[in-house]
Amino acid sequence: METNDQIIQDITSQEYEFGFITDIEMDRAPVGLNEDTIRFISQKKNEPEWMLNWRLKGYEAFLRQDMPIWQNFKLPHINLQGISYYAAPKTKKKFNSLDEIDPELLATFEKLGIPLNEQKALSGVAVDAVFDSISVATTYKEKLSELGIIFCSFGEAVQEHPELVRKYVGSVVPHSDNIFASLNTAVFSDGSFVYIPKGVRCPMELSTYFRINAENTGQFERTLIIADEGSYVSYLEGCTAPMRDENQLHAAVVELIALEGAEIKYSTVQNWYPGDKEGRGGIYNFVTKRGVCRGANSKISWTQVETGSAITWKYPGVILQGDNSVGEFYSIAVTKNKQIADTGTKMFHIGRNTKSRIISKGISAGHSNNSYRGLVQVGPKAENARNFTQCDSLLLGSECSANTFPYIETKNNTAMVEHEATTSKIGEDQIFYLNQRGINTEKAVALIVNGYVKEVLNQLPMEFAVEAQKLLSITLEGSVG
């Protein structure tokens, strides 16, 4: 008896070593998607009820929709029930030192000139020293709050500024916009929130890079930027370093709102893992990005450099609602190996004297497929709307393809819509000319490509442009033999 009691005593008093209900287990939602998953996420994030209800509306809309079939590529089967939709931050696999990281990745970091600490952070190595950008970020934050600028994580905004979030979230990309936007609405993890008060010109480029808690919000990110009357902000997303991520599907949503006389400049450099040479294991980047020029004389400008991901599928657009508002889209999309990009923009001209400008530069190499798809829509009240579209394709090699799908719908006969498209190949003659001046073929291609995309690179903030330029040369290394 005594021994039995002893055993029972021991078992009941000791900590259960397999950790049934530890915090770690609790921080991961069960695999699969249903209403309970969404309630779990919302509860974990301590969200108000309106937010939960909105998520549930997104979920309902998600259930009603089928996968799209109009894209110019074969959509691989994605098992949406096989994903865990909530994981507490910092579950990324940590490595102990850079020695454990893929040497190829390190070589790329080296070429990009990324400082060691940042290399560690990017590749998921635990950083022991205090990360430089943390202190930088804190200084920035103080400076910004003096001006009344709010720049925080989406989750923080829901807690601290619920009235702003509630007023604007879903006002540009509705919960039922498309299946991936609906999914994002239902399960989004976190993201960024920016509010620029009336008449304030944000004194620095806002970048997720400087936001400490930006880490690990990758898969279903949500960004909301509001520029109040007469304000200005330039926002940078992403970075040129290749990003490792365990999640294959990325379905983010970005909403921009520019009130009267405001200007938002949104720049993206996307370099997610593109998969191996066969495209296996690469990221599917299915993003919904849209801005609205709500007030008169407002302006929204999208600039993107897309080099990563196995499939990139996105159309950052602008709704030109206010009179005299301006929408711009500048894009460089590079595909190689078996990468696919189906990207472009949508410009909706609603107000009078609205203008849009679209410059798209596609570069395809290897066996890749690069499509520009754009919609320019002029509504009946959009007197004197103007659009200029230029989309150029550059082919490296003969196994790749480039396509252009421009859609133009105009319901106002004062509209002027111009579309120019070119397709060119890097000619042997061009390369030989540069060879003859002492420049080797790799450098020659880089030079030609940089010339080709210059118009778009010029739109990027200076230091970002320099990085993007380097990124392009590295991406295309070995593409022309």
């Binding site: 003659d429 030989f432 540069l434 001046r437 002492g438 030079l447 030609i448 010339g451 210059k454 118009e455």
Partner: protein, 255 residues
């Protein structure tokens, strides 16, 4: 400086060089003339290393090195420059950036330090003046929207910047009006020195009135069939090529 021995080459299935022999020494200017399709521009392309030209036989020695064994960029870095007959346009690449890249590639190859922006601009200004090259064109995209004459003058500007040992001017005079021709010629004359050499490929004697060659060669059917001094060019101007072709055919029959 350049020794071409029994050079045979073809492009695709067509044999275009059938045994070229030519020696060019430092300080010399050689003119290569000949009717259309005789192989003049092909010779320039083979020397510069254009990919679709295949060397079948022969040797080319360039300052003690096997030229044919080098990549096109290494030939350029060793000091071989070709002024193109049809200079290519490269949109978005500024002339000046391109030249700085080229110059520094060549300097790196020669183990010289790269020029910084200031040094480079000073050199560029100096050379622009020397060859009367329009400063506005320096910052434009490489040859994009340049007139035919401006493109040719840009070739001479590049030549001045890169200071090659041997320059091959491939029909640089074609398409030039008389003023442009004079400017191009005076640029070349200023760049001539005892250390460098030029090969002028041309159809017309006209260019040779401005740039006086030390030697004139007539290329016909892939071979040099006659060599002489500048007087030969005048003779050709007067008589055309037919009398040479006849003599050449007789010779071949005798052989």
């Amino acid at each position: 400086m350049l020794k071409i021995k029994n050079l045979h080459a073809r492009v695709e299935e067509k044999q275009i060089l059938k045994g070229i022999n030519l020696v060019v020494n430092a300080g010399e200017v050689h003119a290569i003339m000949g009717p259309n399709g005789s192989g003049k521009s092909s010779l320039a392309s083979v020397l510069a290393g254009r990919e679709n030209y295949e060397v079948l036989e022969g040797e080319v020695d360039f300052d003690g090195k096997d030229l044919l064994d080098m990549s096109p960029e290494d030939r350029a870095r060793e000091g071989l420059f070709m002024a193109f007959q049809y200079p290519i346009e490269i949109p978005g690449v500024s002339n000046i950036n391109f030249l700085r890249t080229a110059l520094n590639e060549i300097r790196t190859y020669k183990k010289l330090p790269a020029l910084d922006a200031k040094q480079f601009l000073r050199l560029s200004k100096e050379k622009q003046k020397l060859v009367e090259f329009d400063a506005k064109l320096v910052n434009r995209s490489l040859n994009e929207g340049f007139s035919g004459g401006e493109k040719k003058r840009n070739e001479i500007f590049q030549l001045a910047m890169l200071e090659p040992k041997l320059s091959i001017l491939d029909e640089t005079d074609s398409g030039l009006d008389i003023d442009a021709l004079r400017i191009v010629a005076s640029g070349v004359n200023k760049l001539r020195s005892k250390d460098n050499a030029f090969i002028l490929i041309t159809h017309y004697q006209r260019l040779l009135e401005y740039i006086v060659p030390d030697f004139v060669h007539v290329l016909y059917n892939g071979r040099i069939i006659k060599s002489g001094t500048k007087e030969l060019a005048l003779e050709l101007e007067e008589k055309g090529y037919d009398w040479l072709k006849e003599t050449f055919q007789e010779q071949t029959v005798q052989l």
